[in-house]
Each structure stands twice: as C-alpha cells, then as structure tokens.
C-alpha cells in the first residue's frame, strides 16, 4: 500500500474511493433523490429490463444526477414492458412504458433534467404505501 503523505493526498484518495460507497450514501437519504424503479419481473426481464436498468445507471453516473436506481417487481403493465417508474422528490411518480436504452436516455434528459413529459406515460391507477 502506498502511504498517504499529506492532506491533499488524503483528499484525492477519498475521491477515488467515494464512488464505491456512493450507492450506500444515497440509500441513506432516499426521499431527497430521484428514484428510478425498473420493473424486473419475468416479463420485464424478457422484454429487456436488465439492459434498460444498466443504461439508467450509466446515464445518471455520466450526468452526475442525485438519483438511485432500484428494481421492483411486476407493476401489472405486462403488455407495456419494460416499464419504469420515476419519482422526483416531492412529486407524484410517473410510469413510462416500452422503455428501451434510447428512451431511458430521453427520460433522463427530458423528464428528470428538464421536467418535460414525453410520450408513453401510463395512467397512475394505483397507490403504493
């Protein structure tokens, strides 16, 4: 192991290490973050939800968005998979349908960053507790 010889070196070291802890830090304050939930039931996975989830993870990392990507079970919209629920702090959740990698990036660019709605929003007909 290389020694840490000054305050600056310690800070640099911390920055390198921060990323591995980021997911845990974020989970500490879920209510203040954008929550992206990818439906990952059998239907969702078959329709490509795993790639979509990876796309979200990459995109929010790239754009440095305070968001947390989680997976959920079937939301009941099996005909419209992959489905993704996005909840911005203090707002009602919005569910997007037929999400692929391109759509995922669009959701981040338009809805999350600029609050613009886009096509393919499913009606919210349920409540979660």
């Amino acid at each position: 192991m290389t020694k840490i010889k000054s305050l600056d070196e310690l800070r640099k070291r911390k920055q390198q290490l921060e990323q591995s802890m980021e997911i845990r830090e974020k989970s500490n304050h879920p209510e203040s973050l954008v929550q992206i939930k990818v439906a990952m039931a059998t239907c969702g996975i078959a329709a490509g939800a795993r790639t979509v989830m990876n796309a979200f993870v990459e995109k929010i990392k790239k754009e440095k968005i305070p968001a947390v990507v989680t997976q959920t079970g079937c939301m009941g919209y099996c005909y419209a998979e992959p489905t993704v629920e996005v909840k911005k702090p203090g707002q009602d959740p919005v569910v997007f349908s037929y999400v692929d990698v391109k759509k995922a990036e669009e959701i981040v660019d338009k809805y999350i960053l600029n609050n613009e709605l886009l096509d393919g929003i499913l009606p919210a007909n349920y409540q979660t507790i």
Binding site: K3, I4, E18, M21, E25
Partner: protein
Amino acid sequence: MYKMQLLVCGGTGCRASASAKIVEKLNESLKAHGLTKDAQVVTTGCFGFCEKGPIVKVIPDNTFYTQVRPEDAEEIIAEHILKGRKVTRLLYENPETQKHVTDSKHMGFYQKQMRIALRNCGFIDPENIDEYIARDGYSALAQVVSDLTPQQAIDMVKQSGLRGRGGAGFPTGLKWEITSKFTSNQKYVVCNADEGDPGAFMDRSILEGDPNSIIEAMAICGYCIGASKGLVYIRAEYPLAIKRLRIAIQQARDYGLLGENILGTDFSFDMELRYGAGAFVCGEETALLASMEGKRGEPRVKPPFPAEDGYQHKPTNVNNVETFANVPVIFLKGPEWFSSIGTEKSKGTKVFALAGKINNVGLIEVPMGITLREIIYEIGGGIKNGKKFKAVQTGGPSGGCLTEKHLDTPIDFDSLIAAGSMMGSGGMIVMDEDDCMVSIAKFYLEFIVEESCGKCTPCRVGNKRMLEILEKICQGKGSMEDLDHLRNLANVIKDTALCGLGQTSPNPVLSTLDNFYDEYVAHVKDKRCYAKKCKALAHYTIIPEVCTGCTVCARNCPVGAITGERRQPHFINQDICIHCGVCYTKCKFNAILVQ
C-alpha cells in the same frame, strides 16, 4: 460499479447465528446466477437490531431482512436481486399492526435514532480502511495536524460540550486541556474499552463496527495533549473487537496514518493493545492503569489524577470508547453543530444497550433529552407480551431504577442523577410487572460483591453485609429494622468507599428502597413477593377443581409434601413444602396456584 449491495451484520450477536455462513451462501448464489458484477456482499458491523438478527440489508432500497438463515440466501438472490421481488416472509413485521415493513426507513426502531458514534456501524466494512476513508475518515485528523494548533483543537472539543460517555460525564475538552498542561518526555492516550456493566455492549459494537474512528480520535487526542503513544485497554473476552482493531491499526500504519511523521507533519503517533481479564473494577481509570502496568487491578486515591500521574507515572489521558467515537465528527461538522444537539448541559447523543422485557432488544443511539417513553414505546416497541411497565434500570451496578413517574423526564447526565440513577456507560434494562425489585437489587449487589477488588473496607465488607440482609428479606426472615440498616449502610458506603465504583455500588439498593419501598415492606411484613420471584415466599396450593389426579406432582416433589389418591385431587402439606416450585413447572393442567 455495483448496482446493489447486500450488507450482512458481522457483529458478535449475528455471527453467533451463522452470519458468516450467510455471507458465504450469498456469494455462492450470486455466482450461480451470474450476478457477481451487479451485486456485492459486504460484511458490516452491528445494525443494533440484535433482537431480530442476523440482519441482511439490501442497498439501495433499504430492504431490511431479519432472522435470516443460511438457507434463505438463495431465495434472497433469486427473488430480490434477480427479479426485484422482496422476500416478504423475511421482512420485519411491525408488532402492533402485524404488517411487514418494506424498508428500514419506515421502522419505528430507526426513526427516532440519531447516529453519531454509531455512524458507520452497519454501514461500512470494518476490516477495510478504504470504506472509512471514503466516508471522510481520517479527514479530521488531517485537518487537525495540518491546520490547527493543539490548543485550537482542544478549544473546539471544549466548545462542542462533549462529556465523557463512560459514566461520570466529565467534560472531555477540559480533561484534554489539563493533561496538555503537564510537561513530560512521554505522555499517553488511553482508551478505556473495559466494558463491564451487565448487559452493556456499546463499546464492543463500536470497536467491531468502526475501529478506525477510535484510532483517528486517539491520534487527534495525542496531538492535542502532546502524546506519541496510544494504548487500548480491552477485555480479552472481546475477541472479534480485538481482531478488527488489530486489522485497522495495521491498515492505518500501512497508509502512514499511524507511525512517524503522520501526513508529512512533525506529529508521530502509534498504538498498542493491552488485554484485560474482565474484572469490573478495571473500568475505573486508576485500577485500569495499574492493570496495564501488570499490577493488581486496584484503584488508588485521586488526586493525583492520571492527567498528572498516570501510566508509568506519566501524564495520561483516559477516555471511553464512545467518547472517542464522537471526536472526529466534532471536527468534521463543527463544534456548533454538535452542541446544537442535546440538552443545555449534555450535548450530542448517547448509545444505549436496550435489554430486558422489551420487544426490540438492541443497540440504539438517541439525542440527549429524549424521554424514556420514546425509547421504550417508540424505539423499543413496548413491553414484551403486552405486560405492564414497571421500571428501567440504567447505569448498571452504579445506577438505579427509574419508574413510571420518570417516563417523561428528558434523559441527560444531570436529570438521571437527580432521579437517583445515573447515565453510566449506557446499559438500559427494562422490567415488567413480573420482576421483583428486591431480587433485582440483590442481583446487582451479588455482582458487586463478586467484583469488589477488596482494597477498601466499606466496599468489601459493607456490600457483603448488605447482600446478607437482602438475602434474609428474600427468604421472608427480614424485619423492619433491616430496612433501616440497609439504608444506613448504603449511605456509609456511598460516603467512604475509595473509588467511584465503590461509592456508587449501593445505588441499586437505595433507588429501589426509594421507589419501591412498599415491595420491601411486603417482603418483610406480609412475607409476600407479589411478583412471585422469591421462591421462599411463594405459597403453592392445588386447585381441587382443576387437578386431575395424574400424580405427576406427587412423584416429582423432592420432599414428598404432596399426597392424594390417583384420579383424585391432590393436596400440598404446607409444613413440609420447601417452595421449590417443581410441582408448578411439572403440572400439565395449570392446577397449581402460586400466591
């Protein structure tokens, strides 16, 4: 980068329930499902929710799985990690609503807590210094040694209002300042990890869950007082804490955070461990120092205080584990932030080990000034089996009992002393209507008699005499004069014992005498123990209508006090009965009545 992490509790409690095996199984399943790039298993320190261990927490959705067994690992991975479906049967169930709670943020146990000393416990891998550094670890030390003079750093600790968490509550900054004023060619920083109160495990959990915070704080203290050497006095019966502390010290040395010229400055500091054999008295600082020097663990008269004449007669600063755990945060977040938490004279938080007749047994950290009611009913989830609350014992053998009338008192160092108890190191034992307060006082006195070092007469002989009186009372042979004797003796010991532990040893007796005098009188005058704990006072009879005449009681009675014909109601001869209670435990029809 991992999308999910599984945090598995690696504290002593959960390890005893095979949490290491769970880690192994989780890793096997991840591999089998090809998910090793997506999810990672991390062994952490204690989550505090020991009642329901072993704990597995899934990040980032904070799913909190309780009482997980190694067999459950495959299901967690296949269902939750692969398909995103939470394993409902393993979720925590709210005892009041009987509904499953999906994540830790919605658990009553965590909602009222504020974690400063336990900030990293159950969050980072204690055997990996990198995770500590990623959470601003060693930044406080770096800031102190690069930018502050020792006096400036001491002033910050003083400003924060931090008081010693070991029991007495002495202001930490002042202690550091006093030690810094003495000049010597060698000074020492000592960490008191000799946690001896029955049922207390705060210090162990901090050392097991976040050993680096102690190392960092001791180095800061060393810089402030001018010491280059730190010693941790830790019980040999805490093997896991010792192991993790050793790993942490080695990693800190490898990074140059311990050793010569730390972070390129002139400051050098290194640490060693010293093992205690588990004597209660060695938690007293002068006894602790004697034990470290290889002498008998006996306290001595103060002054001179260790700040002047400590380890090897050199100026020594002794602080408790939890006190140290608070120190780095004071520098990171500022003394003003720290002093904004708590009450006027007690700042910050306190860790309590919640135990006894309470639903959520475990380790909690709460801001000073919280009420007992919030701790017991909101965090603790109320009394077990819906029984009635009777008392809570705080401060271990040095403390006393608080009763229903204290439920709404804000808890801090001074309010507890005013209520006849004390903060102590933070043991909190909850008692319900089935507990006999005379027996409780006797239990603590037995502990003191066992653990008294024997150096001074009041503690050695006085406590023994008190115990004899209590034993007499529990056997129904006590008199009203005995109660006065008890009180007199207790006051004499309080005034004359040599060390802090001796002086506080009569507290359990005094506080039960104050708060539960009626119960003592019932034992003495009516010869009755209404909690049915004192066997000698129990009165056993057989209810003839319920008795089936199965003869089990008669066959098991060791003194042949029970007579009766087969299939006919039996009868206990009270002159022969020795109140052993065997008939009560053996009867399958609840026909034995205890009064």
